[in-house]
Amino acid sequence: MSNWIDIAAIDDIPQRGARVVKTSEGCVAVFRTGDDEVFALNNACPHKAGPLAEGIVHGKSVTCPLHNWVISLETGEAQGSDEGRVATYPARVENGRILLDRSFLRARVAA
């Protein structure tokens, strides 16, 4: 059985935008960059748990809507002088569909 879960069409997320996927342990934010890459991160800023999915996406970063922390979509690390890290999950696009890794989402439940 494949470990990749088909989530949605990539066009369901606007370029430089994000949507959330609900899980039993809170939301995962799925981002689409201007270059159509996708990234999945825990939808909570390491600062004050701001909903990152609502931030402005630029390059491969997102700016938290609450206090403007800039988070790398690739590593989940806070940029600049801020310190903290958000959990990231494997995500990819295949034939225009966004896929998330099932085992990682499970790990998240266990954690």
Partner: protein, 811 residues
């Protein structure tokens, strides 16, 4: 014994395969079918034929003599009706049955026609063959054409016809041209080049219907209601492998005819080559892999070893005289970084995509001289860590100097307007410098540039720096953000004077150092563009802060607050009941009365927003824009309606003002108030714009504040009538929209330009006031609406989670 080879389709790939066969002296008796009534020609060269640089004879690859010399039986203008794989025969349309030992499919591809209503009208064509080309060549300066499709083929058709004087409009569904080969920035440059050739380009445009009259195409209707009249409509939106015959014959077919590495289909005696094949999941449209396939086909037919390998592809194109190049992967994947280079002066754009110190993709526009070098780096997976700092400048510039931050201003032509207030162009400033004005004060004194509102000061200084070099010491100025060296004022002037109407245009012409800006510059640019070009620029929600994107205020726990408008602070029992019902229904934890005389519902879940808006809309209420850098509220007192001191109908004026101003975006939030007498119960004198009613009329004052700073408004003008008060307020709002820096409230803007400068335009110069009013109304024709109704109707789905895996994860 001579074997029989039947070839179906005389295209570029099958033609090349035959050449290889005959050159190698293979012993085949060939019959060549072609649906088009002619033999092999170079389809790629149809564009030069269209533009008149070549004619058909120039692009024929194989003529009648060649076929005869090689013993090819030509059956041009004939289709193959049927294939019997057991008997190994093909049946021609006229009933002839031919035996084959080997059969080669070269059926190519079909243009994809969007099944829009009216696509079968006379005058709707594809761009595929000589007939299509001839239809386009028959047109001239009296004709209008619409081309659907902003890919390579569509643009070549458009440019070819434009060269013949035809009035051409290109309609493209995506946000930028050639999106598969180019990124936004390069797409912008290409668009600019096409517009310079007189071609109209409409991106993000959805075709709705093709309109006809007497069975002939008349116009294309877009879904926004725009009608584009045309005599001919060319659809160039893509191609699909032509697999019909192969499918009918029972061969394995997916997107194309399945072939293995030897180009053999699921039947060992049948091969396929060219655009009709699917190899390892890929289909092919560029000529290089087709020629590789042709080589392999010839080897396989001769019983030799040949293997088709898909190679790393690059596209180097000259689209209508514009050089562009793309290679490798510039999308999809983690761990990638961009290196961007822009030279506004030469219209050059380069972007490299680097992963693990290896270049994996490149996009170049304007100057593609170094493309082979970069392509080599991609193919060879060269480690670039040593030359990373100078990599982008190309092989000749290793160790070169970085881009000059003054390049954008240096690139401006002499007639570029620098000072909008006084109409001073770059050339006049240069002349003044040449005549001895060497600092800002002297330029102001001699040309009046930057002597009025002062927002162009930065640009004037840059002209001084460019012209005088080291003799001019540039005062330190604050750039918008790390993406650019330019200030807000510089960028605003560039947007106006260079008519920059899209975000990629600003990034390119102002030399942005990042690929797509950041959270600081994008909201500012989005405002400047929509304020200066309301009809041309498409508002970009992704460049807005969440509150303006979702039309609600985000709270610290990720919930939102919802504030319906109460025009002038007036409500009704029915509205209050609807608000109470909504608060109950959506379990709103906090209901609060705001300082702007309305009711705030705090703690609404993001998913519930469209539904609560719908309920409030149904009760007649609309968005209060309580989240916007735009008009918030017009606070009022009860005025002459009830108050024994009231001098005018302050409530009525407040409602009128709120109705006319609502929906307008401003550099920062805009709060108004109207008090019915100088007792000032509505606290009008600490608002951005305040009106105090007196017996003899209306005192309009501006620049108040009651936040981090507290300021009293200053009188702009007293006017006798309500109508004039409204006009003055609309005009001053527009002046503020056009000139202020993003996130400056009116009082901060006023401190920079001075109240007198504002008075000159609003009070003294009535023509200017009228012009401001007109521009305000143009903008409001787009933006004066209720976003809640629109989002509840069209975008409700986007407020929901993308997927719900709550159960999935629990398993």
């Amino acid at each position: 014994m001579t074997k029989k080879l039947v070839v179906i389709g005389a295209g570029m790939a099958s033609g090349r395969a035959l050449e290889h066969l005959f050159e190698a002296g293979a012993d085949y008796d060939v019959t060549l079918f072609n649906a088009e009534p002619r033999g092999n020609y170079n389809r790629i060269m149809l564009s030069p034929v269209l533009s008149g640089e070549k004619n058909y004879d120039d692009i024929v690859t194989h003529d009648a003599e060649w076929y005869e010399a090689n013993g090819v039986t030509c059956r041009f203008g004939e289709r193959v009706a049927q294939i019997d794989r057991t008997a190994k025969t093909v049946t021609a349309e006229n009933g002839d049955v031919l035996r084959y030992d080997k059969l080669l499919f070269g059926t190519g591809s079909n243009p994809f026609m969007i099944p829009l209503p009216g696509h079968d009208l006379e005058g709707v064509i594809a761009y595929r063959d000589l007939e299509d080309t001839e239809r386009m060549m028959a047109l001239g300066p009296d004709n209008r054409v619409v081309v659907i499709g902003g890919g390579l083929l569509g643009l070549e058709a458009a440019a070819g016809m434009a060269a013949r004087g035809v009035d051409v409009t290109v309609v493209h569904i995506m946000g930028h041209l050639m999106e598969r080969q180019l990124d936004e920035a390069a797409g912008y440059l290409l668009r600019k080049a096409l517009v310079d050739k007189g071609i109209t380009v409409k991106c993000s445009a959805n075709s709705k219907e093709i309109l006809g009259v007497d069975g002939h195409v008349k116009a294309l209707l877009l879904d926004d209601g725009t009608e584009l009249p045309c005599d001919l409509l060319v659809m160039a939106v893509g191609i699909r492998p032509n697999v019909k015959l192969a499918d009918k014959a029972g061969l394995a077919v997916g997107k194309g005819i399945h072939v293995d590495d030897q180009m053999i289909t699921s039947d060992p005696d049948i091969l396929a080559v060219g655009e009709c094949v699917e190899h390892d999941g890929a289909i092919f449209g560029l000529v290089a892999p087709l020629y590789d396939q042709a080589k392999v086909v010839a080897k396989t037919l001769m019983g030799e070893e040949g293997t088709f390998v898909q190679k790393e592809l690059s596209t180097k194109l000259k689209v209508t005289g514009c050089d562009l190049f793309s290679a490798g992967d510039f999308a999809d994947g983690e761990g990638r970084e961009d290196i961007v280079f822009r030279d506004p002066a030469r219209g050059v754009y380069r972007r490299l995509i680097v992963e693990n110190n290896v270049v994996i993709g490149a996009v170049m526009y304007g100057d593609t001289a170094d493309s082979n070098w970069f392509f080599g780096l991609i193919k060879d997976k060269t480690d670039i860590s040593e030359m990373r700092d100078t990599l982008i400048f190309g092989p000749a510039y290793q160790g070169g100097t970085p881009l000059d931050p003054l390049a954008a201003v240096a690139a401006l032509p002499r007639d570029a307007e620098i000072c909008g207030c006084n109409g001073i162009c770059k050339g006049q400033i240069e002349d003044a410098i040449a005549a001895g004005a060497t600092d800002l004060g002297a330029i102001k004194a001699t040309t009046k540039a930057s002597a009025s509102c002062g927002t162009c000061t930065g640009l004037v200084e840059q002209v001084l720096a460019v012209t005088l070099g080291d003799d001019f010491v540039m005062p330190a100025a604050q750039s918008i953000c790390g993406c650019t060296d330019m200030t807000h004022e510089d960028v605003r002037r560039m947007i106006k004077s260079q008519a920059l109407k899209s975000m990629p245009a600003v990034w390119q012409e102002c030399g942005w150092k990042t690929s797509c800006g950041c959270h600081v510059c994008r909201p500012a640019l989005n405002f400047y563009l929509l304020a200066d070009w309301p009809l041309d620029y498409q508002d970009d929600p992704q460049s807005r802060f969440i509150n303006e994107r979702k039309h609600a205020n985000i709270q610290k726990d990720g919930t939102y607050s919802v504030v319906p408008r109460m025009w002038g602070g007036i409500t009704t029992p029915t509205e209050l009941r609807a608000i109470a019902d909504a608060a109950d229904k959506y379990m709103v934890p906090t209901v609060k009365v705001t300082g702007g005389q309305r009711i705030d519902l705090l703690g609404v879940k993001g998913e519930d927003l469209p539904a609560i808006w719908k309920d409030l809309n149904d009760a007649g209420m609309v968005s209060g824009y309580a989240y916007s850098k735009g008009l918030r509220t017009v606070k009022t007192c009860v005025g002459t309606d009830h108050c024994r001191f009231g001098t005018q109908d302050s409530t009525g004026l407040g409602i009128k003002l709120e109705k006319t101003l609502h929906g307008s975006w401003t550099p920062h939030k805009l709060k108004l108030a109207v008090s019915g007498c100088p007792r000032n119960c509505a606290e009008a004198t600490c608002k951005d714009i305040g009106v105090i009613c007196v017996d003899s009329g209306f005192q309009v004052s501006i620049g108040g504040a009651a936040g981090m700073d507290v300021k009293e408004t200053e009188l702009l003008v007293q006017v006798p009538t309500e109508e004039e008060a409204i006009d003055v307020i609309k005009a001053v709002t527009q002046l503020y929209r056009e000139h202020a820096k993003y996130l400056d409230r009116i009082y901060k803007w006023m401190a920079k330009v001075g109240l007198d400068w504002i008075k000159e335009r609003i009070v003294d110069d009535l023509d200017e006031r009228d012009a401001l009013l007109e521009r305000f109304e143009v903008s409001q024709s787009i933006y004066r609406h209720d976003p809640w109704a629109k989002h509840a109707a069209d975008k409700a789905e986007t407020y929901q989670p993308l997927a719900n895996l709550s159960l999935e994860a629990a398993e």
